[in-house]
């Protein structure tokens, strides 16, 4: 044995003997205290039931993504809330006999408070709820636990059904609300389309294309106008320097020449434009006029004599051929310039109209985009709500059929036969041990605290004093007898306490 432990044991033996009265008194008091507390300690019987919360029934995988089975994370908390609700508690108390239907409100309230303290609800496992009821009477504990379990299951199912129904009602209300909104959006879009016929997809691009075309045509016409103006000026300059008469031509010939030139010009224009084109119309009119003049000239020539014809020829011959040619070209250039100028003006007007239209189309498209967006958002939400409503309907039907989260009593409450918690035997065992240990520890603690010298080593090694002798107490024969008597008394005290323990245990066992 370790020398230090041996020294401590020796010290304890010595100190216990020196303070034997204190030790015996403390022992007796402690052991009797434990006996007394153990005797009067209230018995506590616990009756508990286990409820299996089944979330994963056969419907779950089948309805995955469609219906939502009610999920409860902290079941114990919800169970406590259900059980502590006044309706459930009252029902359970009436069933278990705590109160009757005719009991006063005060009596009911007192019973609810009392039973509330006895009930303990906890998560016994992942899907297991435990409802335990503690009471001094095992039968009361059993009845109360059974009643509370039944009431809990009943209320849980109805609460779940109500929850599903409420969810469905809410979603249904939302569906109706969004249906109205969608209808309003549809009507707004319809009215807008009616008011703005131009507002059709692609109209903006079409108008933009047309504007570009007009601008291109306008630029081309402007270029032509500039060219013609230059040509006209050049011709006029040439005309001013040319001899007036170089060659004589008959009037009829001149008409024919002119007619031929116009027809050539007409045929050229027809290659590019329709007959309705203004230049073509104008040339046609000129051709018709010249043809009329030519007919008149032919008719007049038919009545004239040869002399007259010759005079006519001589008259025409007074005009130079080059001059005539230049005059003809100048006239043609002038005519073409007038035609192009008219076309340019017309193109400008058309461009202005198209530009005005494109501004209008932009406004209309912005408004249309807004209305379309509103409509699409409402439509999407409405369709989503429709799906959710169908899911909620199925969930509601699942709960109605008790196919969602189900509660099954895994273990019914049973009549407890043995009390729970600290029992009389525990007190006896603790008393037998602690009534020794407590005075022992107290005495040892005092020796540690009081700083008195109890070790020879402390004097020899600690203080370096020479030890001449270590004498001990010798009992006189009288003291020896007296000590034997004292030991007997201590033994008697210990045996007395044990006898009391034994008697108390026998009384308990015998009932």
């Amino acid at each position: 044995m370790n020398a230090e432990i041996s020294e401590i044991l020796s010290l304890l033996r010595r100190e216990i003997w020196d303070k034997r009265r204190v030790f015996a008194a403390l022992y007796l008091i402690t052991s009797l205290a434990f006996l007394g507390v153990g005797w009067f300690w209230p018995k506590s019987y616990t009756s508990s039931s286990a409820i299996l919360v089944d979330q994963f029934n056969i419907l779950r995988p089948l309805m995955e993504g469609t219906a939502v089975t009610t999920d409860v994370v902290d079941r114990a908390r919800i169970a406590r809330q259900i059980i502590s609700s006044r309706g459930a508690m009252e029902e359970a108390l009436v069933t278990s006999g705590w109160v009757t239907e005719n009991s006063t409100e005060l009596e009911k309230e007192k019973a609810i408070v009392a039973v509330g303290k006895m009930v303990e609800v906890r998560n016994a496992g992942r899907n297991l709820l435990s409802i335990a009821v503690k009471n001094a009477d095992p039968e009361v504990a059993y009845k109360t636990a059974s009643a509370i379990t039944d009431v809990f299951i009943e209320h849980s199912i109805s609460a779940k059904q109500k929850e599903s129904q409420d969810a469905y009602d809410f979603i249904n209300g939302q569906v109706e609300e969004y249906q109205e909104k969608l209808q309003v959006a549809e009507q707004a879009l319809k009215d807008f389309h009616t008011a703005n016929v131009d507002a059709r997809p692609g109209s903006q691009d079409e108008v933009n294309g047309r504007i570009m075309e007009l601008r291109r045509r306008m630029e081309a016409t402007q270029l032509e106008v500039r060219e013609l103006k230059i040509r006209k000026e050049t011709l006029q300059k040439q005309l001013s320097g040319e001899a007036a008469i170089t060659e004589n031509l008959t009037r009829e010939g001149q008409y024919r020449e002119r007619l031929a030139a116009l027809e050539e010009q007409l045929s050229t224009l027809r290659l590019s434009y329709l007959d309705t084109y203004p230049d073509i119309v104008r040339i046609k009119t000129q051709i018709a006029t010249i043809e009329t003049a030519l007919l008149k000239e032919q008719e007049s020539n038919a009545g004239l004599s040869v002399a007259d014809k010759e005079r006519g020829i001589s008259q025409a011959a007074t005009t130079s051929l080059l001059y005539q040619e230049l005059r003809s070209q100048a006239s043609a250039a002038e005519t073409q310039l007038a035609s192009l100028t008219a076309r340019l003006e017309e193109t400008k007007q058309l461009l202005a109209v198209e530009e005005e239209r494109i501004i209008r189309i932009n406004d209309v498209e912005a408004k249309l985009a807004q209305l379309t967006r509103d409509y699409q958002v409402n439509q999407e939400l409405y369709q989503s709500l429709l799906r959710q409503r169908e899911n909620a309907r199925i969930s509601m039907n699942i709960d109605k059929e008790n196919q969602g989260m189900t509660f099954k009593v895994q273990e019914h409450a049973a009549l407890p036969l043995t009390p729970e918690g600290i029992r009389f035997a525990h007190f006896l065992a603790a008393g037998a041990i602690l009534s020794f240990m407590l005075p022992l520890c107290l005495i040892y603690g005092v020796t540690l605290i009081d700083q008195k010298v109890r070790s020879e080593k402390l004097i020899t090694e600690g203080m370096g004093l020479p030890v001449l002798a270590s004498v001990y107490h010798v009992n006189t024969p009288t003291e020896y007898t007296l000590n034997t008597f004292k030991k007997s008394i201590i033994l008697f005290v210990i045996l007395l306490s044990w006898a009391l323990y034994g008697y108390a245990a026998w009384l308990r066992i015998a009932g």
């Binding site: 010298v453 109890r454 004097i459 203080m463 020479p466 001449l468 270590s470 004498v471 006189t476």
Partner: protein, 286 residues
């Protein structure tokens, strides 16, 4: 041990046996131990032995003439927790013998005065001093005198069943008529005399510091050649008397009781006594 000394010791033991009705088997051994413990050189040993032998013979003859009243029986000794040579508890007997030997070895002169005091009152110094005195008295060549120095709470008078009214040390110091011989009482233990404290005096310190006190101590020391006075003093830490008596003594034994005093108290007591006079400590009931 010489033949002469052996023969003398044997004759003395037989005589004592006849007188006291008991045999001190250890007396010769004690005497030898005491003699052996003296630090004597080889050259002077013969001369010293002769001189010593003369003293022993002289002392023993004087001690032999000491008067003895009815001696205490072994049962009575045991009832008083006093040690006696034939006691069954040899361990305790040897402890006291060793204590006596150590004291004799540490002292150069014979007839030295020993003060036994405790660190705190109730430390058991009275019983230690009584048993130490009894141990000295085992030796037929020595006598011991136990002086009650605890004036205020005397306990040795009760141990030796002495009437409290009997005159003691304080009476002797106070009175001119009383002599030392008048206050020495037999104890029932062979060769052990007892001097009670006498009447309790409030100013006991004044008496202890008087010249008469010194002459009383001197007288008791000189009364017999091999006399060892042992003074039982009150606690050195708690009484001024003990500090005064300290000055009159040659050696001091400090009794340390189990579980009654702290290290500081022990250190204080040892400091008061001083290394010069402190023979050592006796642990009581450790």
């Amino acid at each position: 041990m010489s033949k002469l000394e052996s023969a003398f010791s044997k004759a003395l033991r037989e005589h004592a046996q006849k007188e006291s009705g008991g045999v001190d088997q250890h007396a010769a051994a004690d005497n030898l131990a005491a003699s052996d413990s003296q630090p004597v050189s080889e050259e002077t040993s013969k001369a010293v032995s002769k001189a010593r032998m003369k003293d022993i013979v002289s002392a023993k003859s004087q001690i032999k003439n000491m008067s003895h009243r009815l001696l205490l029986s072994e049962e009575e000794m045991a009832a008083k927790r006093l040690i006696y040579p034939r006691m069954k508890d040899k361990e305790l007997l040897n402890i006291y013998r060793n204590l006596r030997t150590k004291l004799l070895a540490s002292s150069a002169s014979s007839n030295f005065t020993t003060l036994v005091t405790s660190v705190v009152s109730g430390g058991g110094s009275s019983l230690v001093s009584a048993n130490l005195a009894a141990t000295f008295a085992f030796d037929e060549g020595k006598t011991s005198l136990l002086i009650e120095g605890n004036v205020h709470t005397p306990s040795l008078a009760g141990l030796f069943e002495l009437d409290n009214e009997k005159p003691g040390l304080m009476d002797c110091l106070e009175s001119e008529e009383l002599h030392v011989a008048d206050i020495l009482y037999e104890t029932g233990v062979p060769r052990l005399r007892f001097m009670p404290s006498g009447r309790s005096q409030e100013n006991s310190a004044e008496y202890f510091t008087s010249e008469k006190m010194k002459s009383v101590i001197g007288e008791v020391v000189e009364r017999y050649p091999e006399r060892y006075p042992i003074i039982d003093a009150p606690s050195i830490n708690e009484s001024a008397d003990a500090r005064i008596l300290l000055e009159l003594c040659d050696r001091v034994i400090l009794v340390i009781p189990y579980g009654l005093c702290t290290t500081d108290q022990i250190k204080a007591a040892a400091q008061i006594i001083g290394k010069q006079k402190l023979a050592g400590v006796v642990l009581n009931q450790f």
